[in-house]
Symmetry: C2
Subunit: 281 residues, 2 copies
């Protein structure tokens, strides 16, 4: 009986060991500690990404909403300034080797140029086929511009469109990187308990997978931590030690916990589910 | 006697009033409070820029030094990855209207494209001829890559060259913007006391101007404040309230005060001096 069960898991185990080794080689240093790819190391990378997201939002908040930057008729070439800039920069970054890691997903993947030779990096690291196809960037683009941006920028137009959309792109990339790191989260969770996930994967049960991937207490802690980071990083720092109670925050800390609650964590789980559904293919 | 003196200052006064009005129209909102262009408002903008510089350094420190990104032979097209990326992004940003404000100075100004029509911003805001020619970007490029970068990045090579040079560019732009805001500093200082600066300007006495622009106590306070910001912003934030004493900083706070002491403040004063030398032309 036990032997039968073990035999049933053997192909899974071999595949797992292969993928484990493969994915470890792709991991950023912060995730791959001593070549170990663990939930702790992935979690540390996600926590570090929170700082990047908070910094990027604070930097975007230097400028008002600047509606003309998002008007598709403004440049006269069919693109908004934002889309024109993101497309151009993604093309440039692809040429120098970006978009080859599972968490770096372009917003406009069509017609991206190949890396210029010789990029050692691009030869060493290839996208895993299953993880490469998972993207929620369309959803990120939409919520960022239509829902999030008005929450943390002031109304108005100061004409600084180039700086504005460059800041938008940094926000989009940081948020996208965090959300698509869900591929690593899914991989380590699956690795730790394949028996928990395999039935739901086989039956393509998205709801069941979503349940398995949801930990309310962890999510509450994340929301509290990002709000704390927003408070610390967006305060006006002075040399007066008694000044900290009077600070005006550059962004509302509650907007950051809302961002995580409404979009970042749910979309991360969508990425995890979609990755898992491809995991046994 | 008094009348003669007043007459001598009259052309200066007229020029000043013109420039005052002109420069106010160029100022970012944070500097131009109620259309008033004062030392306080310029100082507030410089203090805000400190946060941007600290954030950008923390973000760059996510990656090790990554020497191949700076090797001019790596891409095979004559440029290092860093230079290729900065040139490409500056070109893209120029197309959408950047580099038209006195503090936004490109690192590679030759052959920058014109803004795509119709950009309302570019029609409204033109560079002031005297301030546009003042640039210390060559010095910034040099100290950043050869001296600063090794101080706050770890040794090593993780292959993330595209993300690395994108982060470098954010650092370079923030540092350059802060330093070239010296043009505003010089303008308000001159405006407040033209009689103090005019003799040294007329005799092209750079040393005297540098003396007039140096306030040791202010510089010491700036160094302390940026170090404090680096400590606050680069700490590892946890929900454990008793954890703050044990934090590991993502960048050494002393590197940031050193950056200001050795490069940012001296080069800002070089910009101020060069601007003043053109101020009466």
């Amino acid at each position: 009986m036990l032997e039968t069960k073990l035999k049933a898991f053997l192909p899974l185990l071999i595949q797992h060991l292969f993928l484990y080794h493969y994915l470890s080689s792709l991991l950023p240093i912060s995730m791959a500690c001593n070549n170990k790819f663990t939930l702790d190391s992935v979690r540390d990378a996600l926590i570090r990404e929170e700082d990047s997201i908070v910094f990027s939002l604070i930097e975007r908040a230097r400028f008002p909403y600047n509606a003309p930057a998002y008007d598709p008729s403004f440049l006269g070439n069919g693109f908004s300034i934002a889309e024109f800039y993101v497309r151009g920069t993604e093309s440039l970054q692809a040429k120098i080797g970006r978009y080859q890691k599972p968490e770096d997903v372009p917003f406009f993947p069509k017609d991206l140029p190949s890396p210029l030779p010789p990029t050692k990096y691009s030869q060493k690291v290839l996208l895993h086929p299953a993880s490469a196809s998972v993207t929620v960037n369309e959803a990120i683009w939409k919520f960022y511009f239509t829902e999030l941006l008005p929450l943390f920028t002031t109304k108005g137009n100061d004409g600084n469109y180039a700086s504005t959309v460059a800041s938008d792109f940094v926000c989009l990339q940081a948020i996208s990187r965090r959300i698509h790191s869900g591929k690593y989260v899914a991989e380590v969770k699956f690795t730790d308990a394949p028996q928990d996930y395999s039935p739901a994967i086989s039956s393509k049960d998205r709801d069941k997978l979503m349940d398995l991937l949801t930990f309310v207490a962890v999510e509450e802690a994340v929301k509290k931590r990002v709000e704390k980071k927003a408070r610390l990083f967006s305060q006006n720092v002075t040399l007066d030690e008694n000044d900290s109670g009077k600070t005006q925050y550059k962004i509302n800390p509650l907007v950051v916990s809302h961002l995580y609650d409404k979009w970042v964590m749910p979309l991360t789980k969508v990425v995890e589910v979609e990755y898992l559904l491809l995991r046994l293919s």
